[in-house]
Amino acid sequence: MPSDQERILARAAREVVAGQIVNLGIGLPTRLFHYLPEDMEVLIHSENGVLGCQPLASGREADLEMIDSGGAYIGTRPGASVFDSALSFAMIRRSRVDITFMGAFEVDQAGNLANWKIPGKFSPGIGGAMELAQKVDTLVVLCSHNDKHGNPKILRHCRLPLTAPRCVSRIITEKAVMQVTAAGLEVIDIAEGLEVAALRAATEAELIIDESRLGRF
């Protein structure tokens, strides 16, 4: 039985297509690399200035001047490049990064995302999240379906300050895979063994569900 996070990551790996430039946010998304097929040709972008990074091979000595944006020591794959911070964000704003995976505090049925600030509690700064959210064509949110108190994180309307409006393409939680569409939030896949009624009960957003087409993961 996979853990919730393993279930999210295994499903998220299916969103990546060979040949893509992929940005992985800090935290859970960073671990996605380990779920991609080893021979898959993708270039991982890290906004501190690398295209083509990969986790440090075990037993390899760390190069102190090679980190990813989460601060982990990294290696690079053939075809990698390194560059300054202005160029790194030019790559993002020009939508040369194909897909980005990010965590969320809240995400809503219109595709609004809040993942950087909880007023009065948590405000370390937005880092690179705003530009990634606004400019990368495909943004996939990876997060737990509910917070640690059981409250829904998939909402009708975000209440926290937004990272960017209407930026999310798809949401993957341990309970469901949801696509943001013009009609609303459409459930594509539901977790093995989970009833539709239980999914609706755990979600504040209105969900569009066609049971005849529903996948399992």
Binding site: S46, E47, N48, G49, V50, E61, A62, D63, L64, E65, M66, I67, D68, S69, G71, Y73, V82, F83, D84, S85, A86, S88, F89, I92, R93, S123, P124, G125, I126, G127, G128, A129, M130, E131, Q134, K135, P161, L162, T163, A164, P165
Partner: protein, 233 residues
């Protein structure tokens, strides 16, 4: 124009030229590219009332974290300070004024000053809370925010290699903000692991031409903070 050995400076003399209240850009994203030796000398010399511009606040016990802890910084322009709980505490207590910018806008505002412009137009952050207080204009039927450039009195940067003219080569992800900041300050002080004779760097491989660099200081890759961290791994 002063060339050659005029730019090769002792660390004490280079940092002694920084006055109290200076506006100082500091290279680095986390540790890579942070000019730890120059910052430690600044700590030792005692300048106060500083405004620092850096992507992050390092960690509490290294780099600009030490200056913040010592109460020497009044103001910090940055993107993310999540790894420095003391900086967050100082900000929340009102002892450190912090201006937060999205990381790419911070980089571009610095790049823009280095290119000699007043500012630029962007659509980043429209319809979010960072839009508050920004001036907006209409161009070609769309709304844009005006982002003024950010300059500084001094830039402190870390390079891998330099030559005696002040040409700089950075390495790996230690590039980050360094070449942008080197161009955006009135005076740039660079530390490098090695300072070579002019002519020994490949011209096409130079990231920052010497025209933007005022002084170069050699730091030991083994005994500097960069080196000590290497041994800690």
């Amino acid at each position: 124009m002063t060339l050659l050995n005029h730019k090769h400076s002792t660390i004490e003399a280079a940092i002694a030229s920084i006055p109290h209240g200076a506006v100082i850009m500091v290279g680095g994203f986390g540790s890579p590219g942070t000019p730890f030796a120059l910052l430690d000398e600044l700590l030792a010399q005692g300048q106060t009332g500083l405004t620092l511009i850096k992507n992050d606040a390092n960690e509490p016990d290294i780099g600009i974290g030490r200056l913040i802890r010592a109460g020497r910084v009044d103001r910090l322009l940055t993107s993310h300070i999540g790894l420095n709980r003391i900086a967050i505490e100082e900000m929340n207590q009102g002892r450190l004024a912090v201006e937060m910018y999205p990381q790419g806008l911070l980089a571009e505002k610095i790049r823009c000053a280095g290119a000699g412009h007043y500012g630029f137009l962007t659509d980043i952050g429209l319809d979010t809370e960072i839009a508050a207080g920004r001036r907006e204009i209409e161009c070609d039927g769309r709304t844009w925010a005006i982002e003024p450039a950010i300059r500084a009195d001094i830039a402190l940067v870390h390079a891998d290699l330099a030559d005696a003219y002040g040409n700089l080569v950075y390495r790996g992800t230690a590039i980050n903000f360094n070449p942008l900041m080197a161009m955006a300050a009135d005076r740039t002080i660079a530390q490098a692991f090695e300072i070579r004779y002019p002519g020994s760097l490949i011209p096409e491989a130079i990231h920052t031409p010497c025209a933007f660099v005022s002084q170069v200081v050699q730091v030991d890759p083994v005994t500097s903070e960069q080196g000590r961290r290497a041994h800690a791994i």
